[in-house]
């Protein structure tokens, strides 16, 4: 049952990606990206990755969308451009067909080559919960995340602060 829901969410995510690529107004594209992130979070949750789903929802849907919306708003020209309804969908009108073609080609190639992913059956591989992995063996990643946050903070300061 969750498998069907996952497949539906995957198809919806492609639709969201299409809306993001094809929409004429930047704000709609940013919101479509938020929708794509939300669908990814749902898929993550359905796979059982609850912590990652939480992060995806709070950070990507929340934070990245706000940042991109701020960027869109701050780069908007003062006089709004006339944007007619047909133009907003006509941007890349060839894109859905192209994507369906790419998808079908991939499916045909995968079925033709008998593609299957066999899970690794190593005896010493145990499924550890997230907290043990994250705080235990991936401490280099924790250090990296601290440095990343410092980089982000300093970048924003450098890019926006006027010198005194």
């Amino acid at each position: 049952m969750p498998q069907t829901v996952i497949i539906i969410c995957l198809i919806l995510s492609v639709v969201a990606g299409l809306v993001c690529a094809m929409s004429g107004r930047l704000m709609h594209a940013a919101l479509a990206l938020a929708g794509l992130s939300a669908l990814t979070a749902i898929i993550l949750f359905l796979f059982g990755a609850t912590m990652a789903a939480l992060f995806e929802l709070s950070c990507c849907v929340g934070l990245v969308t706000v940042v991109l919306a701020v960027a869109v708003t701050l780069t908007r020209p003062d006089s709004p451009e006339p944007e007619t309804a047909p133009a907003s969908i006509k941007r890349f009108s060839v894109l859905p067909l192209l994507l369906i073609f790419v998808g079908l080609m991939l499916l045909i190639v995968m079925i033709f080559t008998g593609f299957s992913l066999d899970p690794v059956t190593a005896s010493n591989v145990t499924a550890e919960p997230f907290r043990d992995v994250f705080w235990g063996t991936r401490q280099a990643d924790i250090l990296a995340q601290i440095i990343l946050i410092l980089v982000g903070a300093f970048s924003v300061v450098i890019l926006f602060k006027e010198s005194e």
Partner: protein
Amino acid sequence: MSASLASLMYAFIGLPLLAVAGLNLAGRRLTRRICRPLGVFVGLAQMAVAVISQLLLLQYHKSSVSFSQFWDMTVSDSAAYLRVDAFSLVALFCIGMAVAAAFSFKWFDSEHNAFNFTNMALLLMLGLNGAALVTDLFSLYVFIEIAGLCSYTLTALYREERGLEGGFKQLILGALASVLILIGLAFIFMECGSLRYDALALFFSEELPLPILDYLAFLFLIGGFGIKAGLVPFHQWLPDVYESAPAPVSILLSGIATQMMGTYALIRIMSELKGGAADPVADAILLLLGLITIFVGALAALAQKDMKRCLAYSSISQIGYIVLGVSCGNAFGFIGAMLHFFTLTLGNTVLFTDAAAVDLATNTTDMERLGGLQKQMPLVGVTNLIAFLSNAGLPPAVGFWSKLLIIIAVWQSGNGFIAGLALVAGVLTVACCLKVQRKVFFGPDVEELSGVSAPRGGVVVSSLTLSGLIVVAGLLIPFLLRMLQAQGLF
């Protein structure tokens, strides 16, 4: 003993981190004045720690030291996730050297810019140090991302049009490269179940043929790291960025950042996964791309009119040599590639320092408008010549040995014709060197440059020291090779 050795290694992470913390937490007047000496100190300290660590490693006859949790030093090797071995120490030494050189000159007119540059450069140094220390493919990717993000902001440091445009173009290609690397990592993770170097070495040492996903994964990894390294045909962003970045930033980027992000990662991946044994397709692709890069870089360098762009294309050509060495898959190849990494770092740092000195003194880097600077800046001309000839592979500079090792490696792996071609391409680099020397330093005097005076102070010290290091290292390399041979590596 290994505990004391391991505690020394924490300096690689601790020193820049403490420097950043101290710089930002101390009082404003104090920090604004000590930015530059702090940067030089951190760079020199890292070089010293790298050399001491290598001597300690040799003394205790260990090939590598692992250290793990920051609050528990008694963890066994299997859980260790930071490791230092010979390749890492060479890389760490080069990082320290490039950072010290970038801080050695009074570039900035305002303290505000100097403060911003110091923060970002120290964080860049942290990212590159981390990339040299980790034992896991994903952590390597994350630290390279850190370095990339720092370099985008550093390119745009002055917030003027050229820098911003260069930074944004670099960001687009860097982000695309990151996506390609991640796809490769995801495919390998699907097949193997872990991304640690030792688990992957075990996985790839099994018999061929590998699952199709692994071949695709190597293709994506080569594509992604190739963009970051500046391999042809992904090299378009490199000359633009080197030209548009501020002077010390271009020293950092060309001297160490592009090398670490691209070629060091390729060396690390292929040597850890025993690339030659596992994936002949990847080796063939790297061989082809390396050869094309050598020639395209050297030929394009000859056609440039701007000094910095000429240097950028010449360094792209040398990156091709490193990739050629990686593609061989034998010990000669990896050691030659790492040695050429060292050569390129030294050479680029000196070359771009000199270019920045010329730029600062004459306000232009257009070679058509420069000339006859040898009388006014003799030291700059001499160091430029030494570094260029080292890149071209002339004895007794260290570049001669690194190119020799790479060509021997290519010969040993059965591609004699390609080895000959690589040898020929060295001539093109010599031609480019002579062209730059003739146009900028020798040649007829230009009247409007008559008032130009030689640079003084830190830049002279750093470029002289590094040029001296090029020659001294070149003289010492035979002893090093003999020592490695005694250890049974050849």
